[in-house]
Amino acid sequence: MAFTPTKETYSGKVYPVTIGTGDKAVTFGGENVLPFNSFEGAAPNAPVIAYEIQDVPPTDWPENVQKPFAAVSDDPVKWAKYCQDELKAKAIALRLVGTHPDRENRTPEEASKTVKDVLAAINIPLIILGSNHAEKDSQVLIAVAEAAKDKNCIIGKAQEANYKTIAAAAMANNHKLIAMSELDINLSKQLNILITQMGFEKERLITDPMCSALGYGLEYTYSVMERIRLAALTQNDMTMQPPMLGDVGMYVWKIKETQAPESDLPHWGPAEERGIAWEAVTATALLIAGAELLIMRHPKAVEAVEKTIEELI
């Protein structure tokens, strides 16, 4: 029996999305095959990893992931420049966590100033994220979208409760938009439909089906992503064709495995390596499931995932 490879050709493809301006702009998505299956189709763009920074010092991050940024993280501008110049980041994700009412409760004006300062200091693309407080995000993200007008940023995250205002702000200021729903392919689809019904171009969307960390529901995110990607390719379902985001760092660096000291759990090995591996394995799993854009924290985790991407393409 001679072997003939069973190759698949798909009717659909993932939209390519370009962010940033000038020669530092990056493009991700655009493939018409399952992740890293370039043997049967086109996968013109490699996945992109953005370094996560925030508007306030990362005192809420575990020590092992604070450390690499200790000299710069008191100031988002220094922090962003460090990621760009020293770590060779391809993009920055600025999380405006300081605007959360339970945190520093910074105003939309303060947030806009931070965004402007960071944008003035870097030439790589910027992803601007709220604090995940639905009401406050709609005020903050409107202001920062305007502050970043025409810089071709990604604004996020629009959720069911606040997508109208955020999508309108992204649209008015020529940004891309993250649409996030909670671990359900149908909710994801529905939100993308609602946003495009407002006149937002579907080619400017990025789907965030919600991340979960290794050992904490990773398999749900994995399978939702895999199903979204299959729907995009096999059913040519346009509402499922935006590229996908894995917001990895935030979900990984809050669980026990990335923090518990080795002295408490000797059979788990050293906390620092363990935390880095946790972030990198979670990220790799999501790449295999279909994520094209990752937001990550630890430089060593980013470096290892980038090496793995090199080997996969």
Partner: protein
């Protein structure tokens, strides 16, 4: 080729006698085609049909047991390409390489790591599954010396004997008699000799080729020599090629029932950079490896890979729920706090993780809300004052506690009054809305 229900039906007795437990032969044939029934349920099927159907209805990836005793590993039996379609069956084995160029001390160190690698995670015992001895020196004497060390110190651990030299393979195989080891290294030039050794020692044969065409031809040849149990290696070493070959192998087996590639896949993924090696292993776990051979098995890496494997191989049909009960976090004392949440497994993972982070020993009452998160469960009427009160009362937890205070999620603050009405004598405290505020909340209370 996989047979359709109608094709199978043509070979059945067509008497509709119902002895198979199905109303008609056709219904039974349909179940067979979907692999939801096995042919032995029909007592009247002809010998000829058995032969044809047996071949066609065997699992697309051959089941193989690797190793003997308690630590034996099952491989193969996979039926799908995507885990959301159906549970991946036999979790991939992690094997660590020991080269015959290592000193005895180096070899012993790795053996000890393997023997001490067992970790309990969510009720499963996970460990480095196997040792792969490699003949890096090319010298048969050195290889046998290493095999002796491993056979003496790690006789319970499933072993892969990796050499292309039949004499070296034979000498080593004798040391693992009755252990169902894998002899890896059959290729186009040594196939006969290696097949003989595998047959004589009743071992699985690892077959290595350059590419999928050569691999298919080689497994057919070896099968004709009388070896049934094989693990296969297409020669892919780079991650890109591993994904391509593993995907094409799984598709050929599952979609075409192509027997020459219907065997478990072994991938050699050794890298000097241990973290990158871990990431490639993660790729293999997701994409159809049955055995992954690595350079090193540090504890941090094992924990991450075992967890990844567990996640990918969980049953996707099982609802995202945990059992309703009161979970102890740390070692709660009578005065420790009692919290309540719903049984959506992500809610449970996140809430219990944050309570652990707080280092405040606690009790967490997890209430059956049909797998919904707090807000959704409340909106759907599954997380109501009377249900909460009933659960707490029936749990009898009161007897273990020196107080009667229940902390409820901030999202259902609105319920506090009505729970107090229904739980006389209890004090209801509203906790934070988001789990990540729990450590601060618990620490402040404890202070």
């Amino acid at each position: 080729m996989a047979l359709s229900g109608v094709e199978i039906f043509k070979m059945l007795p067509k008497t509709n006698c119902k002895k198979c437990g199905h109303p008609t032969c056709l219904a039974f044939a349909m179940k067979l085609a979907q692999r939801q029934a096995t042919l032995d349920s029909c007592p009247d099927v002809s010998e000829e049909a058995k032969k044809v159907l047996g071949e066609a209805s065997a699992p697309p990836v051959r089941p193989i047991t690797f190793g003997a005793g308690d630590l034996a590993v099952k491989m193969g039996e996979e039926t799908v390409l995507f885990r959301h379609d159906k549970k991946f069956v036999n979790p991939c084995a992690i094997a660590v390489e020991i080269k015959d160029t290592f000193s005895e001390a180096e070899a012993t160190k790795i053996i000890e790591q393997v023997l001490a690698s067992e970790i309990d995670r969510v009720g499963q015992k996970l460990r480095v599954d196997a040792i792969a001895l490699t003949n890096a020196s090319g010298d048969a004497g050195k290889f046998e010396a290493l095999a002796k060390i491993v056979a003496a110190k790690a006789s319970v651990v499933p072993t892969i004997i990796c050499t292309e030299n039949p004499q070296a393979a034979e000498a080593a195989a004798k040391l693992f008699a009755d252990k169902r080891a894998i002899i890896y290294g059959a290729n186009a030039s040594n196939a006969e000799a290696m097949a003989n050794i595998a047959k004589t020692n009743k071992m699985t044969l690892g077959v290595h080729a350059n590419g999928l065409e050569e691999l298919s031809a080689l497994t057919e040849k070896i099968k004709a020599l009388g070896v049934e149990d094989m693990v296969i290696d297409s020669g892919a070493r780079k991650a890109k090629d591993i994904i391509e070959h593993n995907t094409l192998i799984r598709r050929a087996a599952v979609k075409k029932n192509f027997k020459p590639l219907g065997y478990p896949v072994i991938n050699f993924m050794q890298r000097d950079d241990s973290l990158v090696e871990a990431l490639l292993a993660a790729v293999g776990i997701a994409k159809y490896s049955s055995i992954i051979v690595v350079n090193s098995v540090e504890k941090w890496k094992n924990l991450a890979l075992f967890t990844m494997r567990q996640n990918i191989y969980t049953d996707p049909q099982v609802p995202m729920q945990v059992e309703q009960k009161i979970y102890n976090i740390g070692e709660p004392k009578p005065e420790s706090p009692l919290m309540i949440t719903t049984n959506f497994s992500l809610t449970y993972f996140i809430v219990s993780g944050e309570i652990e982070n707080s280092k405040v020993a606690s009790r967490l009452a997890v209430m059956d809300s049909e797998g919904l998160s707090v807000l959704t469960a409340w909106a759907a009427g599954k997380f109501t004052a009377s249900k909460i009160a009933q659960f707490i009362t029936e749990s009898g937890i009161e007897k273990e506690m020196s107080h009667k205070e229940l902390i409820i999620p901030g999202y259902v603050a609105i319920l506090s009054g009505s729970i107090e009405d229904k739980l006389p004598g209890w004090k209801i405290t509203v906790g934070p809305r988001e789990a990540n505020a729990l450590p601060a909340f618990l620490k402040t209370r404890a202070a």
